[in-house]
């Protein structure tokens, strides 16, 4: 895919470009994934947002063992490893790390890095329920963030700048959504691996370049001839799908399964909702990023997301669900106990739960389980 090559080339030079931008006085803002950081605020301040989404490497998880016990989510321990070691160069280049505090695992990343590194960290809270009080607190958090960004960059985030940033980010979401929806068709025109690469790319790439890449991708896809690929359609869901954590997608595709839709709390940029260009833009951001965002499993109750999964499984006509969770993320583990019954009764579908600690030794057993599942659901 031509667009994929464009993205690879862009990401290859991304660090160099960021270093150059930094030399020219622009600020680089890192943030933890989860979909609760309105990138629009960062862009409107003239800074560059970079989502710290790398994972899948067990050596970083091991390294974190010197700073925290092992009972914390694998991806979060990996972030501690990257942060303290500087093995992920993006950690070394950022001027500020924004941590939308979603649960205790993400809070652990914030606290351990604040204590053990010189990274400047700005935590702000994401409540776990949806009501007027929680929305107000989220809005308060992003307003604090706006002030912090203005202070850091010396740029006032005016309505006009914010409006432009929202339009750009809406365009990116719109394109991702349009590309994703193409996968409703049978057979799918884009593999999960390619779609996830685009989605991950959007978390790191320059926003304008990314929009161009997505536009080009969409154009290519519309021209592309339909190639019949046989295999059961699968919904892949879970807590975190990090950049570099490819094994479940690879094994599923190698086993003949077609992942046609992904739903993750962390690692997949939410693209279903757009920011409405209201008169109060901060409220519009809160409305999109908090109120209308399909919440992860650490929201209570988690019904909204589970209903959404049922809807996705029907809309994308899947034959089964693979639930991929990382070790010790208790919200996902708990839901994985009762969701299969709901899925069975409401959509008549089976579910496979797999778990990872980013250990290479997992690949064999994982392959056996996924292959067996794909064989079982093959129609």
């Amino acid at each position: 895919m031509k667009a994929r090559d464009m993205l690879s080339a862009h990401l290859k030079n991304r660090l160099t470009n960021l270093s150059q931008a930094k030399k020219e006085g622009r600020k680089i803002i890192g943030y933890t994934p989860g979909g609760y950081l309105p990138e629009e605020l960062v862009l409107a301040s003239g800074a560059i947002p970079i989502c710290l989404i790398r994972g899948g490497d067990h050596s970083m998880v091991e390294l974190a063992g010197a700073y925290i016990c092992r009972w914390i989510d694998t991806f979060c321990r990996a972030q501690i490893g990257y942060g303290v070691s500087g093995e992920d160069p993006y950690y070394n280049i950022i001027d500020l790390l924004i941590v939308p505090v979603t649960d205790n695992h993400i809070r652990a990343v914030s606290d351990v890095l604040q204590y053990n590194t010189n990274i400047d960290i700005f935590p702000f809270g994401v409540p776990h329920t949806k009501d007027n009080f929680t929305l107000k607190y989220y809005l308060h958090g992003i307003n604090r963030l706006k002030n912090r960004l203005e202070e850091l960059t010396g740029v006032e985030i005016t309505d006009s700048r914010l409006r432009d940033a929202i339009k750009l980010c809406n365009r990116e979401r719109e394109l991702l959504r349009e590309i994703s929806l193409i996968r409703k068709s049978q057979p799918s025109l884009i593999s999960s691996k390619d779609f996830v690469a685009l989605n991950h790319g959007s978390l790191i790439a320059d926003k304008k370049v990314m929009v161009e890449i997505l536009e080009s991708t969409l154009k290519d896809l519309k021209k592309q001839a339909v190639v019949s690929v046989d295999g059961p359609r699968v919904l892949l869901t879970g807590s975190t799908l990090a950049l570099g954590d490819d094994k479940v997608i690879d094994i599923t595709e190698d086993s003949g399964g077609l992942i046609v839709i992904e739903e993750f709390a962390e690692g997949i940029r939410p693209y279903w909702e757009m920011v409405k260009l209201n008169s109060n833009l901060m409220e519009a951001l809160a409305d999109c990023y908090f109120t209308r965002r399909i919440p992860p499993a650490w929201f209570r109750p988690g019904k909204e997301r589970l209903d959404f999964l049922i809807k996705l499984s029907k809309d994308f006509n899947v034959s089964g669900v693979i639930w991929y969770q990382l070790m010790y993320r208790e919200s996902y583990k708990t839901e994985s106990y009762y969701f299969p019954d709901i899925l069975k009764s409401e959509a008549g579908l089976p579910m496979l739960t797999v778990e990872s600690d980013y250990d290479a030794g997992e690949v064999g057993p994982l392959r056996t389980r996924i292959e067996t599942f794909i064989e079982t659901i093959r129609r």
């Binding site: 010197a66 700073y67 925290i68 016990c69 009972w71 914390i72 505090v101 649960d103 205790n104 695992h105 809070r107 652990a108 606290d111 351990v112 604040q114 204590y115 960290i121 700005f122 935590p123 702000f124 809270g125 994401v126 409540p127 776990h128 329920t129 009501d131 009080f133 929680t134 107000k136 607190y137 308060h140 958090g141 499993a297 650490w298 209570r300 109750p301 988690g302 070790m327 010790y328 208790e330 919200s331 583990k333 708990t334 839901e335 106990y337 009762y338 778990e355």
Partner: protein, 467 residues
């Protein structure tokens, strides 16, 4: 007519007249709990071995927990509106709800099961196993306190409540386990939300909006409870709830002061904690009414011991502070004391004894301020800072940070607390991974070597500093 359980109940401070009067209820509850004559020898020897039965107050403390267990098991049979609240954060609103109607029984069932089925009967394992089989499997670092709640309901020994009050700002697991139970049994849950978004070093300051938010959420639990239970939670009920809590916390504060003021540890940490946990395990009229009197009796008995110079550990033993005591297995705390450590108090008990000093009234915002000022609910730094302050205040020789592996807010401090406390105070810290609800994997035997070595090190340090 005497029965198989009479002797055990006497050891737990029951009067004969009381036993005779309550026989029907006791037997009905024991039957549901699968407690029979075959369990009595084990229970009697377990409590004789691990509890200081010479003290009348200790017997009464065991008794009050046992009475709570019986009330809990029979609550629905006896027509009560049953409200469960989540540990550790939401006892405040529960106290106002309990004071609003005599028909409401408000309790944290998992804590009651720990202090009875664990501390008295040493029979928690089947309940934990039922929890593991019903949604919270082993091997995933899931909270064992929640396994006890899930297991208790799965086995039918604790009833399905009319309402659950659950918090979602400190612990991620409790509210999720309540959701699992709601899925299975359909009872309503009210979530008190909040946010743990402090910056490192921010404590004791906090954003006003954060306190307002938590306050509004706690206030919401009261209005929702009122609506669901069909009761009015009046101003008087709020005053009554605060007044009852204040008495209990006041008695606890006196107890902590006594422990602080003497070098001869007059009371095992096991007993101090069965008293302390009354402040969070139940807000029943019995606990809030009789609890302060029993702790006051304990305080009088301790004063006698102090006067006579009687201690439960060797004089001059190095003093250590632990984060929190084991809820269900007293043998672990005994093992620590038998290793030659004097453990006058836990970090969490010092924090509990600070609160309810000024609150005349249960209101969301007041409770929120208390929660934030306490430390742990403010953030990691708040919890660690308070631990360092407590260690200095009690002038201890060492700290055992016995972190619960399956409790994320505590487990995330596994390394931070040791580093911070040692750096700030110079007091050595043993970071000891364990579980304080389930001792199957982290038994006294499994922990002994590390604790004994730490005790030896503290003794050597103390001797060398004395020399």
């Amino acid at each position: 007519m005497a029965n198989y359980y009479d002797e055990l109940l006497r050891l737990c401070g029951f009067e004969d007249e009381e036993i005779n009067k309550e026989r029907f209820r006791i037997e009905k509850a024991f039957q549901r709990l699968e407690i029979g004559s075959q369990d009595m020898n084990l229970a009697e020897s377990w409590i004789r071995q691990n509890h200081d039965l010479e003290l009348r107050a200790v017997r009464k403390l065991l008794g009050i927990w046992l009475k709570e267990l019986i009330d809990l098991v029979l609550a629905k049979d006896e027509g009560k509106k049953l409200v469960y609240y989540g540990f550790p954060t939401i006892a405040g609103p529960a106290a106002a709800i309990a004071s609003a109607s005599k028909d409401v029984y408000c309790v944290c069932p998992d804590v009651v099961l720990c202090y009875t089925m664990g501390q008295i009967f040493n029979k928690l394992t089947p309940i934990l196993e039922a929890g593991e089989e019903n949604g919270l499997p082993p091997g995933h670092g899931l909270c064992s306190l929640q396994q006890i709640r899930v297991g208790g309901m799965a086995k039918g020994i604790i009833p399905v409540p009319d309402l659950v009050l659950t918090s979602s700002y400190y612990c991620d697991m409790g509210s999720k386990a309540d959701e699992l139970l709601h899925q299975k049994y359909g009872h309503p849950a009210v979530y008190a939300d909040g946010s743990m978004d402090s910056k490192w070093g921010e404590f004791p300051n906090y954003l006003l909006q954060r306190a307002n938010f938590l306050g509004e959420e706690l206030e919401k639990t009261l209005s929702k409870a009122s609506e669901i239970l069909g009761i009015e939670i009046t101003t008087e009920a709020r005053h009554e709830g605060a007044s009852r809590s204040k008495k209990l916390f006041g008695a606890l504060r006196d107890l902590v002061e006594l422990m602080k003021g003497t070098d001869t540890q007059p009371l095992s940490i096991v007993e101090l904690e069965i008293a302390r946990r009354l402040t969070s395990g139940s807000v029943s009229k019995r606990v809030m009414g009789d609890g302060p009197n029993i702790i006051a009796l304990l305080n009088r008995e301790i004063k006698e011991r102090i006067k006579k110079g009687v201690g439960v550990v060797e004089n001059g033993a190095p003093k250590a502070m632990i984060l929190m005591a084991h809820f269900s297995d007293p043998s672990i705390m005994r093992m620590m004391e038998n290793s030659g450590l004097s453990i006058p108090v836990t970090v969490h008990t010092t924090l509990a004894s600070r609160i309810m000093k000024t609150t005349p009234f249960i209101a969301g915002e007041k409770l929120a301020e208390e929660q934030l000022e306490r430390g742990p609910f403010h953030g990691s730094y708040g919890e660690i800072k308070r631990a360092a302050e407590a260690a200095q205040e009690f002038n201890v020789d060492g700290v055992i940070f016995n972190y619960l592996f399956n409790c994320r807010p505590i487990a995330m401090l596994s390394h931070l607390l040791k580093q911070f406390v040692e750096k700030q105070t110079g007091i050595p810290v043993l970071s000891l991974e364990m579980d304080v609800y389930d001792s199957r994997a982290y038994s006294a035997a499994a922990l002994r070597t590390r604790v004994e070595t730490f005790a030896d090190m503290l003794r050597a340090r103390k001797a060398s500093s004395g020399a």
